[in-house]
């Protein structure tokens, strides 16, 4: 009875956790994986794999088999938005995910995800998110862009000897998009990430060390067609400088990206006292983007930019066996350095230095058999020094970010459980927002039910973001339907 109850919570955790794993699967793999409040199995602590992304820790982190399917949609209404943001954004997603422990030594994770993203009334930008680029393509029209693309993900974790694991993770995706008005820009993108890793477990199985690397390779090709006077193409450098591309029948922009990285991990179970786990990770990741644009046959250099991220994570998790409470403290320090040079001249056009310090605390409590609560808070300070040189501009500020959440899970009976989650976040905004601060309030309600074929779940989400000035707000709705066994 008791084990069944706990198992059910584990399943519920798996479902919600996989929803959160989306951010790891973003089409263009992020340069560093963000630490989520919940891991991909909705457990309120972060495993070594979650913290490090080392595939050689996968089997240790996730020891159970799983087949999981998800359909979800989200709808964001951006009443208040940045200059190049869409007025509304829809996302439809299908996800199939499988974790198989093939034998004592081998674990295989395979997943496929298909996304359709529709950005309605996006002004001028031909990028999916122009604020993540330093060399962007614009035209002079407002239209709707549809993105379609599958992504696949494989992880293979193999024990070379009983205490030494080798892991390989491959993420691959292709994506195509089309804008519905001239310039009818078409984007074809390809994204590949390879992450090899090694892990070593001590004889008492309390100390783990790991090393991992990553290799990233991606290309994007934008093809914009000249049609009318009001549809010509521009290249934006940073956020203030642009050039008009030569008016011709077809303008093309090419992004050639590559990246490398490595990471070291250390984990000690029962550190100082039983039930206390210490995790330390350090990583370096760098990426470059070589941008050319203009003629289809003979594009010319527009720019080259490099981003380098160094990150350290210190995580303490106190979770003694059979205890009703557990506590986790995480500290992250991250240094991000960007620079971008002109395509034609060997000069720096802009650079950016950010130092992020994040302190998070999470507490889990089981008040009684049917009720578990999780609560947590996070405070972050981001020191940013962004500078453009061509048109002199500097943003040198410390931005504060605060967030907190409360998650209540209740088992109604043996086959049905419900959960409620609320969160709040206050964020100082970057200079390209026309407001100083945003306050986000989110809530989610979900249920899961055991059926004869497996488990079925559904979740409804609502989120509202209010802006200090000029007192406007954005809304987001989400619906998820899940099936797993």
């Amino acid at each position: 009875m008791k084990s069944g109850f706990i198992k059910k919570w584990n399943y519920a955790g798996i479902v919600l956790g996989l929803l959160l794993a989306n951010s790891l699967w973003a089409f263009d793999n992020p340069i560093v994986r963000e630490i989520q409040p919940r891991n991909r199995f909705n457990q309120y602590y972060n495993s070594l794999y979650d913290l490090s992304g080392n595939p050689a820790f996968y089997k240790i982190s996730y020891p159970d088999n799983l087949d999981f399917n998800l359909v979800q949609t989200t709808n964001d209404n951006n009443s208040f938005r940045r200059q190049y943001d869409p007025r509304r954004q829809e996302n439809y997603e299908l996800q199939i995910h499988s974790i198989k422990h093939l034998n004592e030594r081998a674990t295989l994770v395979s997943a496929i995800r298909y996304n359709r993203l529709i950005q309605h009334d996006i002004p001028r930008s031909l990028e999916k998110n122009i604020y993540e680029e330093y060399f962007s393509y614009l035209d002079t029209t407002t239209g709707t862009t549809v993105y379609d693309g599958p992504q696949i993900n494989f992880i293979y974790d193999y024990a070379l000897i009983s205490r030494l694991h080798l892991g390989i993770e491959v993420n691959y995706g292709v994506e195509q998009s089309l804008k519905d008005v001239y310039t009818q820009c078409e984007i074809i993108a390809r994204n590949t990430e390879l992450r090899p890793g090694l892990s070593y477990i001590s004889g008492d199985r309390k100390t783990l060390i790991g090393i991992s690397g990553n290799f990233y390779d991606a290309q994007r090709k934008y093809e914009a067609v000249k049609y009318l006077q009001d549809a010509f193409v521009r290249t934006l450098f940073g956020y203030h400088l642009f050039m008009d591309e030569t008016p011709k029948s077809t303008n093309r922009k090419n992004d050639d990206r590559e990246g490398r990285g490595f990471a070291l991990q250390f984990c000690r179970q029962d550190f100082v006292i039983p039930g206390l786990k210490l995790t330390l990770t350090g990583e370096y990741n760098g990426r470059s983007d070589d941008v050319t644009a203009g003629s289809v046959s003979t594009p010319t250099a527009r720019g080259y930019w490099v981003r380098e991220v160094r990150r350290g994570i210190f995580d303490l998790n106190y979770s003694p066996e059979k205890a009703k409470n557990s506590l986790e403290l995480t500290y992250e320090i991250r240094q991000t350095d960007d620079w971008a040079k002109s395509g034609e001249y060997n000069v720096v056009m802009l650079d950016n230095a950010e130092r992020l310090n994040v302190l998070s605390i999470r507490w889990q409590s089981r008040f009684f058999k049917r009720l578990i609560t999780n609560t947590g808070a996070s405070f972050a300070v981001n020191s940013c020094d962004y500078q453009e040189y061509t048109i002199p501009f500097r943003y040198n500020e410390n931005d504060n970010h605060f967030s907190a959440f409360l998650d209540v899970k209740y088992a109604v009976n043996q086959i049905l459980s419900v959960y409620l989650r609320g969160d709040i976040a206050k964020n100082d905004l970057y200079f390209y927002w026309d407001a100083d601060r945003a306050t986000r309030r989110g809530s989610a309600i979900g249920l899961e039910r055991l059926t004869t074929l497996g488990r079925l779940g559904a979740e409804l989400e609502y989120c509202r973001t209010a802006f200090d000035e000029p007192h406007q707000y954005d809304e987001s709705f989400g619906l998820k339907i899940l099936y797993w066994k």
Binding site: F232, M243, P247, R260, E308, E344, Y345, N346, V347, Y389
Partner: protein
């Protein structure tokens, strides 16, 4: 074993962290441009540095305002803290210079008024970050005569590919009456040997005096002398045009009885005088050569303008002796913009310097 592993791992990590291009040592907006402004004319005997003249520099590479400064007493001007880019110096100034007689003697009490224009197209930055260049200016009053003063070829703003309100404006920049009798207006595709259209004014070439153009007078040659704003509000009214192109083989061609006609003289051409919306050569010739199958005789050309919307072109479609540059770089189809000389009849035989893009078009008058 562990030491061997470290020997392998540490160099590998160092290699990974240094696999990108090196960050440049120089930053943008540190470029300096020193210009020396000179008026040099061996015929008239001038070789002078020009003081107190406003110099503007313009770049097409970015959305930047023009930079402006004035030359000092030695004719030099320095622009500092510029973005690294190719700059086009723009000098258009009226100067008063002492008259120099045929013996090379300066007469300080007798001054000559000259309208000067620069001849430099673009200056690219040197790697040192400091570029020095001499800007030679020329007088625009050297070649008065009948000029192609404005060309409207892009069509108005519309979504139906409509461009039938094109026109060409002529201007007499000389002090004497010019006559249009028998002259031809040509559209040239590539060099004088490939004439696309040729339409002729009535009258006897060279000797006819029926169709005079007074000094300082504008003459509008419309594709169709019609009030096109009735069709498209963004278009222009050409119902008052002096002349219109008419092809007798084009039965649908509009013919305004109030406008005089230029007629097609090329056998086999059955359409109106239409010009390309992006780039072409327009020439007016005295009409003594009316056979276009072997091309247009260069000796008969009175004025010639090449226009092109494309930047960074390297090949010309007409001999440089007729036009050394391009008008309308950056002009766009269906923009409702025309190209017009910066001053009436201003002609240095380099349309890049002589013309500006204007909106709206100004048929029959100067912008």
């Amino acid at each position: 074993m562990v030491k061997k592993g470290l020997f392998f791992i540490i160099p590998s990590l160092l290699f990974l962290s240094n696999c990108f291009n090196q960050k440049p040592t120089q930053y943008d907006s540190t470029y300096a441009l020193k210009l020396i402004l000179v008026y040099q004319d061996s015929t008239l005997g001038y070789n002078k540095r020009l003081a107190n003249i406003e110099v503007q520099i313009h770049t097409d590479e970015y959305n930047l305002q023009n930079f402006s400064a004035t030359t000092d007493d030695s004719g030099e001007v320095i622009f500092e803290d510029l973005p690294w880019a190719a700059f086009d110096p723009q000098v258009k100034a009226k100067v008063l210079l002492p008259f120099i007689d045929s013996l090379g003697v300066e007469w300080p009490d007798s001054v000559v008024s000259l309208t000067l224009n620069d001849t430099t197209l673009a200056i690219t930055p040197s790697e040192s970050g400091l570029t020095t260049d001499t800007i030679y200016t020329i007088s625009a009053t050297l070649m008065p005569g009948l000029k192609i003063n404005e060309i409207y070829y892009t069509g108005p703003e519309n979504r139906n590919f409509w461009f039938y309100d094109q026109f060409i404006e002529l201007y007499n920049s000389s002090d004497e009456v010019k006559y249009l009798d028998g002259m031809v207006v040509c559209r040239i595709y590539h060099m004088l040997t490939s004439v696309t259209y040729a339409f002729r004014f009535p009258g006897e070439p060279l000797v006819g005096t029926q169709y005079p153009v007074q000094p300082g007078e504008f003459v509008v040659l419309a594709q169709d002398a019609y009030n096109h704003t009735l069709l498209y509000s963004t278009s222009i009214d050409l119902s008052g045009a002096d002349w219109e192109f008419v092809n007798a083989f084009d039965y649908g061609d509009y013919d305004n009885p109030n406008a005089l006609n230029l007629y097609n003289i090329m056998t086999g051409k059955t359409v109106d005088f239409m010009i390309n919306l992006s780039g072409n050569v327009i020439a007016i010739a005295d009409g003594s050569d009316s056979v276009m199958t072997d091309g247009l005789d260069i000796g008969t050309v009175i004025d010639c303008v090449e226009y092109s919307s494309l930047a960074k072109r390297t090949t010309k479609d007409i001999d440089k002796i007729l036009d050394a540059g391009w008008a309308g770089i950056g002009n766009q189809k269906y923009s409702g913009q025309s190209v017009e000389r910066i001053l009436p009849g201003f002609d240095t035989n380099n349309s890049f310097n002589d013309f500006v893009i204007i909106k709206p078009p100004t048929p029959g008058y100067q912008h």
